[in-house]
Amino acid sequence: MSAPAATAAQPHSLLRHLLAWTLGALVLTWASFLVAGYRAGLHEADELTDGHLASVAALVLAGGSRGWQAPPDDEAPPPPPSHEYQRTISLVLWDAQGRLLAHSGPAPLPAFSREEGFATLALGSPPRPWRSFARWSDDGADAAARQRVLVLIDDADRVSLAWDIAGQVAAPGLWLLPALALVLGLAVRRGLRPLRALGDDVRALDVQQAGGLRDAHPAQEFTAVVDAINQLVARYHAALQNERELASELAHELRTPLSSLVLRSRALREAEGPPDRAALARLERDALHAGEVLGQLLALARASHAALAEAAQPVDLEALARRVLADAAPAALAAGHELALDSAGPCRVDGHPLLLELALRNLVENAVAHTPPGTLVELRLDAARRTLLVCDGPLPPGAGSPAAAAPGRPAVPVGALGLGLGHRVVAKVAAVHGARFDQPPPPPGFSRCDRLQFAPAPAGGAPPGSEAERISIVTERRAPSRPI
């Protein structure tokens, strides 16, 4: 069960995330300072100790090394440092023949050599590194009187000095880091306050209300998010309101024939004598109308993108239009209307056949119901533009208002919803199919036009420009010209 597990998991904290990154970066910076300090300290220690060794060697040779006597007792412990910063320097003095003249300090006695300069010697057992500097005295032409001085210092002292310098560089960071972490935590927490406010606002959002987010959230970074949320809420609310109005109007449409049914049934039940056939016929018509409305209501209730995705199948709009017009023809022709279909050939869309038929039937029946006798209702299928138009023409001479019914027939035939409601049904079906429903300017010769505009065919479907790729449906109404 991944969903419950996901629900139970601790939500990721942006504050912790930001703190971790900030403090991580801080520690990394501090560590790099430490490394740089150690390297600088090592370098400085090298320079200091080497300079020190060279200075001592020069001092010994300049101060008259002849005054040095026999080597002291090697076993004697070195004298304690007289200052905490004093380094323990060892010194070895040889004559030109390699005889040991003097030896002081803790460094083990190295073997005699004639080399000069700096070197790191491994002395003692086990061997330890000692930094050394060797130099010969300059006694003119008397080479035999020359002396060689070797000054040594424990390499551990040098490393210790390097660490000391690095420590001095890094020490402020040690106490600054916790303080900085605390300050950073507070700053990040305070900085995230607008984000928390946005989160609280979103959490308190009531999609039943059209207002969207309560607060403005003026931060520039939130503008896109706030706009998107508000637009989403507005669209959701509009869709919800539309659904409510549609349900209300369908219920209204259903209540009227039901009321008529009840009253007529009561009248028939209480009537004396043989049944009134005309009343029975009206009863049947009311029942059919109620059933028609109920069927549309159920079809719309089932209509959704999800349901469409499951039930979608290729629908030939031309065949569908032909069938709808054929079904509508008897009543339309009896009422003096003319019907026509203008199509270049089969047009296929992926959709719900029942819903598409419902939409088309509504458009045609409404066009017939709300125009006077003699009006041409034309259905145009334009595969190139993926458009379906239902148009009706200008009123024929002497005709009354478009809503006026012909004498002897109801204003709206059985099955036809009111114009506004019919359009709502079509709009809902269009929305489910990702299509657009609108009323464009009518083509020349027509007075009104309803259009269903389907989305372009998906890539990889029919080749561009082919009949299957370009589909449009047009229903039109105009004065009599071309009957089917």
Binding site: E253, T256, S259, L261, L263, R266, A267, A271, A279, D286
Partner: protein
């Protein structure tokens, strides 16, 4: 009771006319606001059954116009109005009642409930609180459309019952023959010149001479106090 039904749905209007007609009501029908207003201006009605969604506008417009009419002339602004509509929302009901409707029923409605509401409105308009009308030994039940005299049922035809009810509700006022005709017949009824006299004659035969009195040259009335 003279009832005007303003309803554009032919089935409902016809059904109401048939149902109410059998109960002795005189029912006139109007399919538009304009026709309804013309009828209200032409004749006094005891009740207006008003649909809201009409081809030429909202029935509430007619209601507001009726309530704003001057008293003492036609249309009578005190005419009880019962709104019948498919709008079921509470807001729509509240709006209609606030704008002068006396009652509200939502389609589809039970005809018996509608009749009961009509009787209640009629009762309120007549200033009565009791559902039964009593006059001496005579007890009239408008809901059951029955008449008892000394506890014994008296069979009356629908029109006879309508004449008796109109006179009892109007007592002790005198109703002219024209007023009684207006309460009993709709615009389409074919009137016989002595129809009211015939109904009164039948009522006197069934109920006795003391109930309905004649004011020569003026009309008929039921006295406030029954004859001893």
């Amino acid at each position: 009771m003279r009832v005007l039904v303003v309803e554009d749905d032919e089935g409902i209007a016809e059904g109401l006319a048939a149902y109410l007609g059998r109960d002795g009501h005189a029912v006139d029908r109007a399919a538009t606001l304009a026709a309804g207003w013309a009828a209200l201006r032409a004749e006094p009605f005891d009740l207006l059954l008003l649909d809201l969604g009409l081809p030429d506008g909202d029935g509430l417009g007619l209601l507001a116009r009726l309530r704003a009419a001057p008293a003492g002339a036609l249309p009578d602004p005190a005419t009880p109005v019962l709104v019948m509509t498919a709008r079921e929302q509470v807001a729509a009901r509240v709006d209609a009642l606030d704008r002068g409707a006396d009652d509200y029923v939502t389609k589809p409605f039970d005809p018996d409930e509608l009749a009961a509401r009509m009787r209640a409105l009629r009762r309120r308009a007549a200033g009565r609180s009791q559902p039964l009308l009593q006059h001496g030994a005579l007890v009239v039940d408008p809901a059951g459309r029955s008449v008892l005299r000394d506890g014994q049922p008296v069979p009356l035809a629908a029109r006879e019952f309508a004449v008796l009810l109109a006179l009892l509700e109007a007592r002790p006022r005198v109703l002219s023959r024209q007023q009684l005709e207006a309460a009993l017949y709709n615009f389409d009824s074919a009137l016989e010149s002595n129809a009211i006299e015939v109904y009164v004659h039948h009522l006197r035969k069934k109920l006795g001479d003391g109930v309905i009195r004649t004011l020569r040259g003026v009309g008929y009335y039921v006295p406030a106090e029954p004859a001893a």
